[in-house]
Assembly symmetry: C2
Homo-oligomer: 286 residues x 2
């Protein structure tokens, strides 16, 4: 049982975590904290949090677990505000989509308390953002990746592991760098591709007509382009090197497609699309 | 009422059309034709078609409407087989995703009967293929684009227009070249991007792990990479110039993202993602 949970950043991810833990009967009091008071009022109204504090230090005081669910670009400021008020028994975790940058910030700020910090990343979300978009089942049957350091307290890891399992998630472990490389490929790159596609088409002369004739495939394909711009800006800043490498590699892949089209190379086109289809079908488990 | 409908190519698109017209009580006998007898047997079993013929000429004889629902690469062969057996009262249409190539083939083969051909393209489908994937509501509230020529018989256009409306679709009209340009952007380019992404990731060293951690966003994003490789090979061959231009333009768009990441240009990244989000949100009508 978590007696007091502090959620710093009460949006889709932090809010859904609170709802899931409440539904599981796994938490007592949930204290929220954030920059937007209207959002926090709404979070109380919706029963996502029980109270909120204006200062982060008040919110985290006495908490069993502090969850940092702010965009990556806000982590430095948040760690500075919590570092001197964290109690001995408090475990800190985060939900950032890139882990190296958060680990660096945590290490620089927490000093001897670094063992109390368990870096985490739930592989879940929707293209929506804000506490109204939260729901208790968001983490059901989803994976949460924890990337603890050698110095992380095993008891702290166990606490965060149990917290996510109580939300219906499975918990897996990856090294920090490994996480960032894998997620750059499966998540960060696709988001860049979707954002770029929408922007590119919107620049074309007849873009209104183009969007007008967009079919279901296009809507699914660009769904992630509706994701929170601040979050993704910060992911780009935090995991830029991995992303840059992948974007270059992806452009080379597109060049292969272009070459096959230019040469009207029936066999190569069929092979490219056939390979992609079989990979994707097996991924989905058809 | 369509007394006899001939469907050449009984897959997802042709099969769903037959099912929709039957459900609407708008068709008498549906005759199928295709290269794969097992598939045709299945189509009869499923009630999609009432009979099938081994030769295309037998299938189209006496038909009110002939629907060509084969991949674009098979159009030349199909037009050669039907050109001498088409009756005066038969209207021909197709469902190809690119229209110029079909119009060229039809013009070269049909001679004075070109007025009986109404080029068409239902903006509907799923990533699945084959007659088993067909369903009667596929065209409900979807758009069908017709791209008639100056020489197309207005009565033939009215016949095909009415056929699609009876399936629950709305019918719109575009010029042939305009259609191909718009669809290259909304449909052909996204398919290339999805195929290329799956192929690219599958080439990476740790691709098994990468696919293992793929989240919902990735699944949606790559759904269209499960589409029929033959169909998409043929689209590339048929609409290659438009596609090549768009792929190059898209790569330039990616370069903008890369430059902003490389420069850690917070403002530019936020502007790029914010613009894409607002375009996409308004497209979806949020």
């Amino acid at each position: 049982m978590i007696n007091r949970l502090a959620i710093v950043g009460v949006g889709l991810i932090g809010g859904s975590l609170a709802l899931a833990l409440k539904q599981a009967g796994a938490v007592g009091h949930v204290a929220g904290c954030g920059r937007n008071q209207k959002n926090l009022d709404k979070a109380v109204q919706l029963g996502v949090i029980d109270s909120y504090e204006e200062s982060i230090s008040d919110a985290v005081k006495g908490a069993d677990i502090v969850v940092l669910a702010v965009p990556l670009g806000a982590m430095q400021s948040v760690f500075v505000q919590i570092k001197d008020v964290i109690g001995d028994a408090t475990v800190i975790t985060d939900v950032g989509s890139a882990k190296q940058s958060v680990v660096d910030i945590a290490s620089a700020n927490l000093g001897p308390r670094i063992g109390q910090f368990v870096p985490g990343h739930p592989i879940a979300g929707t293209e929506k953002s804000g506490v109204e978009a939260g729901f208790a089942s968001l983490y059901q049957n989803r994976r949460v990746i924890l990337t603890p350091l050698d110095s992380t307290d095993p008891a702290a890891i166990a606490t965060i592991d149990a917290m996510w399992r109580q939300c219906g998630a499975s918990v897996e472990y990856l090294g920090v760098g490994h996480h960032d490389k894998v997620l750059a490929a499966t998540s960060h790159l696709p988001h860049m591709l979707a954002y770029a596609l929408v922007n590119y088409l919107s620049r074309l002369n007849d873009h209104e007509e183009i969007f007008n004739y967009a079919a279901g495939g296009f809507r699914d394909f660009t769904r992630i382009a509706s994701s929170d711009p601040v979050m993704w800006r910060d992911v780009c800043i935090s995991n830029g090197d991995a992303l840059l490498t992948l974007i270059e590699g992806y452009k080379n892949e597109l060049d292969q497609v272009s070459a096959a089209i230019r040469d009207a190379d029936h066999e190569h086109l069929l092979q490219l699309f056939g390979k992609a289809k079989s990979e994707r079908d097996s991924l989905i488990g058809l």
